[in-house]
Amino acid sequence: MLIKLEYKISGGDFTRAGHASSEVKKNLKQLGVDPLIIRRVVVSMYEAEVNIVAHAYNGHIKVEIESHRIRIVLADKGPGIPDIEMAMREGYTTASQQVREMGFGAGMGLPNIKKNSDILNITSIVNEGTTVEIINNLQ
């Protein structure tokens, strides 16, 4: 059996950033998933969610939960990432001063996602958008 959850994300709306990850967390708690795995899932998803808010125009999150794994696909329309390898480096950021003043933009998001996921796939087309796929095993 498969549970599907979907969320819409608007770029620039920091007040709602984190909402979707909180919802996913609530669901995982009801499934009795190991708290440390929930933490990984939520932290990685939160960072990817915030990246859409901070760097893209709008996005769409699809979540699939199965007994053995959770797959989260975050697809956005936005500027895209020209050099993914570079973007993955700790401390690398293109965040504006304004975003940094809000406490984001340390360049730690993508490395954190990497750390907190079992599988991470990023594809991106410049001036079109970015798709981030995060998979975590649940058992």
């Binding site: 708690k29 009801q30 499934l31 708290p35 440390l36 939520v42 939960i65 649940l138």
Partner: protein, 462 residues
């Protein structure tokens, strides 16, 4: 399983004869632990964290906090009252600390010790713990037992952030016990009685994290003792015989139970959050990884921390003001000064300062088996398509989503929803008589008949 059983002790009991089967308690409970069945509120022990919100909300004072019979103290030759500083704060300024203490002796106690006497030693121990701590920050204070229970059940991943440090009341009790034992008094002659400001602390004293229960011989509710003491103090024909008691509680001790009492005395970047809903909001953020660079969290279930405990009768704003004044008066009392006997026991208390490991006690899963849980969650989400989302509580559950959870875990039947009943009636699947019976099963037989003695009705209170 063992741990779960142990944590199922709660001091709260619903009095069947007082409960009128309304929805006030159910709707304020932060963990959705309450349901109404057969005209009575039922508290689910796995979900309840003893925060006391339901007690405050009950219009008929039907949720009681069980404590021990006061006369129980006379079974012991040495009757030690461990009173929190908020107890002294209950009394208007006209009464001196000496008068209040003297009244406690007159009631039958042979020794009185303020709970926060151990705070100076505890604080040093906690700072050392903080400095040696290698794990992820922030460290979370274990002070408020309702919050500890909340984290164990609802934020299990954060259990490892809770400091394994014993609360002031246990350390002060250990001190007094040791002091009497050192004098050659036999253990069975010593009765340690805790005067509690709340239900959470009663549960924690009866079932401490650290040890097997048994450090205390009993618990007395603070509001009960307040009445007994005030009665003595107000008796002008036979005034309380004054002892020569001098407070040796430091300012830090006086303020410890108030908001910022701990956080002001811990290193690093600290935050103090009071009110259980505020705490839940913050823990959600923390769990999402949204909070960075906080070193220490003081989290308390009640507004204004223990000044707002359910057994605290005084207005909490006045109480806080009185305690701040007392802290100023006590500002000269220093640790290790002659009047502070407890500081001689520092080594002993430090040796015993740590609690055992704190277990996780998840309260939210739908099933032990994840595949079954997924099926139930799926069904729950489907059910939500049919429930109106009004959260009226007429089904006996606090919200439509709590009701859906009850249905998929077989604790409730879909036909309990009054709106689905109307739909079923419309489609000829349920008769009005049957629907009526279902509602009576939840709210009580004859509950919907005219009754002018009801609260707010013509003959109320007659």
């Amino acid at each position: 399983m063992e741990a779960e059983k142990r944590y199922n002790y709660h001091a709260l009991k619903v009095a069947d004869n007082l409960c009128i089967g309304c929805t006030h308690c159910m709707q304020v409970c932060p963990t959705e632990a309450i349901r109404v069945r057969s005209k009575l509120a039922h508290i689910n022990g796995t979900r309840c964290v003893d925060c006391g919100a339901c007690v405050k909300a009950c219009p008929t004072s039907a949720i009681l906090i069980e404590h021990d019979d006061f006369n129980h103290i006379f079974k012991y030759e040495y009757r030690v009252a461990l009173v929190p500083a908020v107890f002294i704060g209950q009394f208007a300024d006209v009464y001196t600390t000496n008068q209040i203490y003297s009244a406690l002796y007159e009631l039958g106690f042979t020794n009185v010790c303020e709970v926060e006497h151990s705070v100076e030693i505890l604080n040093e121990f906690a700072i050392e713990y903080y400095q040696n701590y290698q794990g992820e920050k922030p460290l979370i204070s274990p002070y408020c037992p309702a919050i500890v229970r909340l984290i164990q059940g609802r934020f299990p991943a954060l259990v490892e952030n809770i400091m394994q440090v014993r609360p002031p009341v246990e350390l002060s009790a250990l001190y007094y016990q040791k002091k009497l034992l050192n004098k050659g008094i036999a253990p069975e002659q010593i009765g340690l009685f805790y005067v509690s400001p709340c239900a959470a602390k009663i549960a924690a004293v009866k079932n401490p994290i650290s040890e097997q229960p048994g450090l205390f011989q009993g618990v007395i509710n603070m509001d009960f003792l307040y009445n007994r003491v005030l009665r003595l103090l107000k008796n002008t024909t036979k005034p309380v015989e004054l002892r020569n008691y001098k407070s040796s509680l430091t300012a830090k001790g006086v303020l410890w139970a108030l908001t910022n009492g701990e956080s002001d005395n811990m290193p690093g970047r600290t935050l103090a959050i009071d009110g259980i809903h505020n705490v839940i909001d913050f823990l959600e953020l923390l769990e999402n990884g949204e909070i960075h660079d906080v070193d220490f969290l003081e989290l308390r279930a009640c507004d204004h921390s223990c000044a707002g405990g359910i057994l605290s009768h005084a207005n909490r704003f006045l109480l806080v003001e009185r305690m701040r004044k007392r802290a100023k008066r006590n500002a000269d009392i220093k640790q290790n000064s002659d009047i502070r006997d407890i500081d001689k026991y520092k080594e002993y208390l430090t040796e015993n300062g740590k609690t055992a490991e704190i277990p996780q006690l998840p309260m939210q899963n739908l099933d032990q088996d994840i595949s079954k849980a997924i099926a139930k969650l799926q069904r729950q989400r489907k059910l939500m398509c049919f429930l109106p989302g009004i959260d009226c509580a007429a089904c006996g559950a606090p919200t439509c989503s709590a009701f859906a959870r009850d249905v998929v875990t077989r604790k409730a039947d879909l036909s309990q929803c009054v709106f689905l009943q109307r739909m079923m009636e419309k489609h000829g699947k349920l008769s009005p008589e049957h629907a009526f019976k279902i509602n009576e099963k939840i709210w009580g037989i004859n509950r919907f008949e005219k009754d002018c003695y009801r609260k707010g009705a013509e003959n109320e209170n007659i």
